[in-house]
């Protein structure tokens, strides 16, 4: 029996169609994997089901009832529990207080019946086989227990359908097994799950059926037993991607950046050698460690073991300022939080990094700075009127170019670009690829960390694929295909190896 039937769901944001007549159904008592690349429309579809977004077209039928307009509250009441990727628990309250937040059990005098709430919490945890003490502070729990608490919260609401959005990101192998045990038990009780994950081994372990989305469209649906990880990947990625050629082969120089067994929080045992003038792509799933590795090379976070050599000289786990003196620059991910200084002008934003290197001469020569800024503005094709305009008055793409100008202004030779095309339009993206090529031609070394494989195909000489904090593979340019990278990034190749052994 079908518990959920979504038919011809259409959703547009600002005139852009993000879901185009997508149909999706879930049987009672099954785990259904919802698959697709970033931006395929999975989250939008689930947000429509959970009442976060309103659909522009299509129908939703849940437990045999039509749901006309869904709100977060009505979805909750109907028995749909959305376990978000980000943890929505409150650290400064206890476990049971979180569980009963806004649903507190009251006693005779409208006071909180704490004893009853604690008892019910304990009962729930016993049923789930989770060892959490209801009176512990949530802040003292580790991430995996918080994740389990989040799931318990959904269970407590007596939901019939659970949406698990990448629930294993924060869990280790053992904890994932535990979670899957709970999921299996509940499935036996007739509960249904929508499971969103990028990790192939997990999908093939836990899911009964799958639905694949690509670019906002329905691609296929079927039983997991009838498909292979390779086929899933192929369908997620799609074929016939036209590669606009910006790449030019260049002669590379001596090794400029060498990592030997570099280990730190989020990455381990990374050994790499990057040559002068090379463009290197980093990729992996969210949390695979490539971003953390970049930050460690830049000195923004420490590394705990291994060696880091820049220009052939060993560098201690150090500070950002030291890395900058070694001519290393990092364009950080999440532009708004990590890069943009909102109260400052374009000129000031372009110069704030350079000023720390030239701090010995404290006076600012405005004319000189404006001249240099204008040069950078022309080179990067920044569309802006006056250098006195605030950076926040520009579009995302132009803001990113200003941040890039900030780092080119430091005369850096090694540029670490962490997700440089995040949240910018297609035109600006192409410009940034071209620029990366030009910089490399001029002898700069560029490392680009991105989840989007076509970007790497456009510019990189080599591609490093990360999985769970380690280097999964280093691919030469000719070997970089979306399918190959996805197989490595999701560790799908590991399943194939296992299956091969069993045969």
């Amino acid at each position: 029996m079908k518990i959920l039937q979504m038919t011809d769901i259409t959703k547009r944001f600002f005139g852009v169609t993000v879901l185009d007549k997508v149909s999706f159904d879930v049987e009672e008592g099954e785990v259904h994997a919802l698959l697709g690349e970033n931006g395929a429309g999975k989250s939008t579809l689930m947000n429509i089901l959970g009442g976060v977004h309103q659909r522009d077209g299509g129908t939703v039928e849940f437990c045999g009832k039509q749901m006309d307009s869904i709100t977060v509250k009505s979805a909750d009441e109907a028995g749909i529990a959305f376990v978000h990727q980000e943890l929505n628990v409150i650290n400064d309250l206890t476990v049971y207080e979180n569980l009963f937040l806004n649903k507190e059990i009251l006693g005779k005098f409208r006071h909180l019946n704490k004893r009853e709430m604690i008892r019910q919490s304990q009962e729930l945890f016993n049923r789930l086989g989770v060892d959490i003490n209801p009176t512990d502070m949530v802040g003292s729990l580790d991430t995996s227990r918080k994740q389990l608490l989040e799931i318990a919260k959904a269970l407590h609401a007596e939901a019939k359908l659970f949406i698990l959005d990448e629930p294993t990101t924060a869990l280790n192998t053992e904890e994932i097994e535990h979670l899957f045990g709970i999921v299996r038990r509940l499935r036996g009780e007739g509960k249904s799950f929508i499971f969103i994950s990028h990790k192939m081994p997990e999908i093939f372990e836990i899911a009964d059926r799958y639905t694949i989305l690509r670019n906002g469209s329905f691609i296929s649906s079927g039983r997991i037993a009838d498909i292979t990880p390779e086929e899933v990947t192929r369908q997620m990625v799609g074929e016939g991607y036209v590669n606009q050629e910006v790449y030019e082969a260049r002669k590379l120089g001596e090794p400029i950046l060498e990592l030997e067994g570099l280990t730190g929080k989020g990455f381990h045992d990374v050994t790499l050698s990057v040559h002068k003038g090379e463009v290197l792509g980093f990729t992996g799933l969210k949390g695979a460690g490539s971003s953390e590795l970049m930050q460690a090379v830049f000195g923004a976070i420490p590394f705990t073991a291994g060696k880091l050599k820049v220009w052939g000289k060993p560098v201690a786990s150090g500070t950002i300022h030291k890395a900058m003196k070694d001519k290393v620059a990092m364009l950080a991910a999440n532009r708004k939080e990590n890069s943009v200084i909102p109260d400052m002008t374009l000129l000031e934003n372009t110069y704030c990094a350079e000023h720390t290197l030239s701090g010995r001469h404290p006076h600012i020569h405005v004319k000189r700075e404006v001249a240099k800024y204008n040069k950078l503005k022309q080179m990067l094709n920044i569309k802006a009127e006056s250098h006195e305009d605030l950076i926040v008055s520009l579009s995302g793409g132009n803001q990113q170019k200003v941040i890039l100008a900030r780092w080119l202004n430091t005369e850096a030779e090694i540029l670490l670009l962490d997700n440089p095309t995040q949240g910018i339009d297609v035109g600006a993206k192409t410009e940034i690829y071209k620029l990366i090529q030009e910089l490399a031609k001029a002898g700069k070394t560029v490392i680009v960390n991105t989840l989007e494989i076509p970007e790497i195909q456009k510019v990189a000489d080599r591609c490093v694929v990360f999985y769970h904090g380690g280097v999964q593979a280093v691919l030469e340019r000719s070997e970089i295909t979306e399918e190959r990278v996805m197989l490595l990034a999701t560790n799908a190749s590991a399943i194939r190896a296992e299956q091969g052994q069993e045969v």
Binding site: H321, M324, M330, I341, M344, H355, P362
Partner: protein, 335 residues
């Protein structure tokens, strides 16, 4: 049409940048009307003269607030630094030495706040609340243990007269205190607008994470800001002693933290940091001084003083937030 828009944009940007001067002028006009014929050069000069000590303290406060922090201890610092400076002068009969001591003490007190806030990373509100309690109490304890009831300059010393001149005399009708204020304001304005350090302060207050990832040593910048505020504190304490001739730990500098914060805010610096002009702080402080004078001129009960100051503060903030408020209303209407 386009011309009109341009003109409107220009007016808007001038209002945005210099509304502290307009607020100051508005209050000044009210004062002149109330005073009508009685206004002389001396009454006019008394406005910056009586704003010198609090103005210099507020300049340091402005720098601190630009980084997003706060300093509640300035009033107590004035009592402690001022009191000890009186002791140094009485024992040495040396103006230069007393001045250097005041600045040195200011640096030490600023360094204590700065290290706890910048390096140990304690919240500024708590740290300066604690030092506020401590410094005034230390000033009182030292005084008490010497069996004094007040820190009083020894008028019998040969250098007492020159010190009094610094604090109370004028050159070409311009009080020496005002000349010193102008110099300090000029230096602080230069520091905040035309040096790399100044930009660092703004960057830190605007987006600390981005500032750090740009290579700015966030901790050291914080420490340095508190040390500079300490230097200003030392200068202000010395001038207070020269002007008044004594320090009473029970009353000297009382509420100065509140008045200086108010001056900073009326001067147009955002409490969340990163936005505003150091020059505005002086006008903000002078605005408050005029309010004192208006109350005196009207012969009102001095106890009503803080009520009026508080009301003016609210009014000034409302005026500054006018563009944001109208924008919100417009948005609500279109939505």
């Amino acid at each position: 049409m386009k011309e009109k828009n341009k003109a409107a944009a220009l007016v808007k940007s001038i209002w945005h940048k210099y509304n502290f001067i307009l607020i100051f002028l508005a209050i000044l006009v009210v004062f002149l009307i109330i005073n009508h014929g009685a206004t002389t050069m001396t009454t006019l000069m008394n406005i910056p003269r009586h704003s010198t000590v609090i103005g210099i303290i507020a300049l340091g406060m402005g720098l601190i607030i630009l980084t997003g922090d706060i300093d509640l201890s300035v009033g107590s610092q004035l009592a402690l630094v001022g009191g000890l400076t009186v002791m140094v002068f009485n024992n040495t009969n040396n103006i230069a030495l007393s001045f250097l001591f005041a600045v040195f003490m200011g640096v030490i007190l600023g360094l204590i706040n700065g290290v706890l806030i910048g390096l140990v990373k304690m919240p500024a509100f708590i740290v300066t609340l604690a030092t506020m309690l401590m410094y005034r109490s230390i000033a009182q304890t030292v005084m008490n243990s010497n069996n004094w009831t007040i820190y009083q300059l020894d008028a019998g010393l040969s250098q007492w007269q020159p010190l009094w001149v610094i604090g109370n005399q004028s050159v070409f009708q311009i009080p020496i205190l005002v000349l010193i204020l102008v110099v300090v304001v000029a230096i602080m304005t230069y520091l905040s607008t035309s040096t790399k350090f100044g930009k660092r302060v703004y960057a830190l207050g605007s987006n600390e994470r981005a500032a750090q990832l740009s290579g700015i040593n966030v901790s050291m910048t914080r420490v340095l800001v508190f040390v500079i505020a300490g230097v200003l504190m030392g200068i202000a304490s010395f001038l207070y002693v020269a002007n008044v001739g004594s320090v009473d730990p029970a009353t000297s500098g009382k509420n100065y933290e509140l008045y200086s914060i108010a001056g900073v805010v009326i001067g147009g610096i955002s409490m969340s940091g990163g936005r505003g002009r150091i020059l505005g702080v002086v006008f903000g402080s002078m605005s408050f001084t005029i309010i004192d004078k208006i109350i005196t001129a009207l012969g009102l009960n001095p106890l009503i003083n803080d009520t009026i100051k508080g009301a003016i503060l609210l009014l000034a903030i409302a005026v500054q937030m006018l563009p944001a408020i109208t924008q919100k209303l417009r948005k609500a209407r279109t939505a």
